[in-house]
């Protein structure tokens, strides 16, 4: 795997800074249990986010019922690809954050922009300590501002790169879904149109990304709150002529 590093007790990549950990300790160098792409886009009522429910252990599709999209506070959704245990850790940080925010009981609540900024600070800080949270996070939400309801969608990755956009995809989605989204996304899509576009992207990812599985979850966030729909599968088509007699035309002993 591309992320393998020699486990020789010393840290790789210029880690004189990180050496303060002491002998026999090591920082995260590679992920173990990983989720694949997450895609999200803004639509008329808010933000829609979708991903599959699989988590791979290297090349094995180990876990098939994993929720990689969660609600954060009253106004946001977070989706993650990458190391699943790091996502769980991030959810714990966000839990503490939203809980203390809620306990003030003063009418203020953290909106998606604040959560995104907070996560960016966390991710960038961890990167600077050579101990990253190995994730690409997608943060979407809607919050009433002084200029009316403001939809927000952004992403932050393990090195702290962050930006806002009308549509986001992580992992393989960057290569397979973004071109579709760029061509077909438009302002103020209805929920049905948005789901159709999302499913189109998910189908391409299902066919072409070997770490995806045919079990997806779609989630939406609107001013009414977050809804995470139950998992479902997409119809796939394998009836191509070339698949019918795979060895036809094969030459040689292999």
């Amino acid at each position: 795997m591309a992320w393998q590093q020699p486990m020789d007790g010393s840290h790789a990549s210029g880690s004189k800074v990180a050496a303060a950990d002491g002998p026999g300790t090591q920082r995260t160098q590679y992920p173990y249990v990983t989720g694949t792409s997450v895609i999200a886009l803004k639509y008329k009522d808010g933000v829609i986010m979708a991903c599959d429910t699989g988590a791979s252990y290297g090349s094995t599709l180990r876990y098939k019922s994993v929720e990689r999209i969660k609600a954060v506070g009253k106004h946001s959704l977070i989706g993650a690809s990458g190391e699943f245990s790091d996502f769980q850790e991030i959810l714990r940080y966000l839990d503490e954050l939203t809980l203390s925010d809620h306990m003030w009981d003063d009418g203020n609540s953290l909106g998606p922009k604040e959560v995104h900024s907070y996560l960016t600070r966390v991710m960038y800080n961890r990167r600077n300590k050579f101990d990253p949270l190995w994730n690409s996070l997608v943060l979407g939400g809607v919050k009433k501002g002084p200029k009316g309801e403001e939809k927000y969608l952004g992403m932050v990755n393990m090195i702290g790169t962050h930006f806002e956009e009308n549509h986001i995809a992580t992992g393989f989605g960057n290569h397979l879904a973004i071109p579709i989204l760029r061509a077909e996304w438009c302002e103020d899509m209805t929920f049905e149109e948005a789901v159709k576009l999302v499913e189109k992207c998910l189908l391409v990812l299902l066919y072409r990304d070997r770490s995806s599985i045919n079990k997806f979850q779609i989630a939406k966030i609107t001013t009414e709150g977050a809804t995470i729909y139950p998992p479902y599968s997409l119809k796939t088509h394998w009836g191509f002529a070339a698949f019918e007699n795979p060895s036809k035309g094969a030459v040689g002993s292999w």
Partner: protein, 273 residues
Amino acid sequence: MFRNQYDTDVTTWSPAGRLFQVEYAMEAVKQGSACVGLRSRTHAVLAAANKAASELSSHQRKVFRVADHAGVALAGLTADGRVLSRFLRSECINHAFVYDAPLPVSRLALRLADKAQVCTQRSWKRPYGVGLLVAGLDVSGAHLYYNCPSGNYFEYQAFAIGSRSQAAKTFLERRFEGYNDYTPDQLIKDALSAIKETLQGEKLTSSNCTVAIVGRKDDGTVEPFESIDGNRIQEIIDSMEAAEEAPAAAAAAAESSSMQEEDKGTDAAPMDI
């Protein structure tokens, strides 16, 4: 309030359940020159009466910008006030750095109050001798808080602190009910009138008062916390004087003589009010 055997340090209760050092700190606020704050739904205004140590010196700075969306006016030990303003600025900046959003004014006032409370419960500290009017704007609108040395804080529609502030409070009590719908200019005029009440006959000019405003215009754009330029203040004062005549000045003189006694006569601990 007289010297007694329970007032030596802040960690000694009196038998009546009072902390005299804290109450003495609140007296320090009453010695400072007056400050006034008032707000509508969308704007908050702070005004302060400037006092100079002598004719040779510049006047004491009493209004501080804490962030784009908030500022304070203080009365009392201005050195304590300066230090607290720096603390408030630091809290706002830290919050903006992590969350990329302005610190809600209620939470700013709360942090200040918690800091003040610490000084009422440590034997090696003394309470801050300054009262702050915290004015700011956040998603829920314009806010005005008063933070006092006891660590208490309340939200106000309008308030006045410092010496001769009772005259200003009486003025504000008569008019505050309409403030939610006031325009920024009306708020500024009322703030100047309230300060005028505390000057006890002395002429109000742009050199003996400071006014600052923060708010959100109807189109949603934010007007950051800023002191109003002296020339503009003088124009407003002139237009106010052209509109009203002597009767207003006479009423103010009659009121200001009766205000000071009320502050010292109560038996209840001031911080509980």
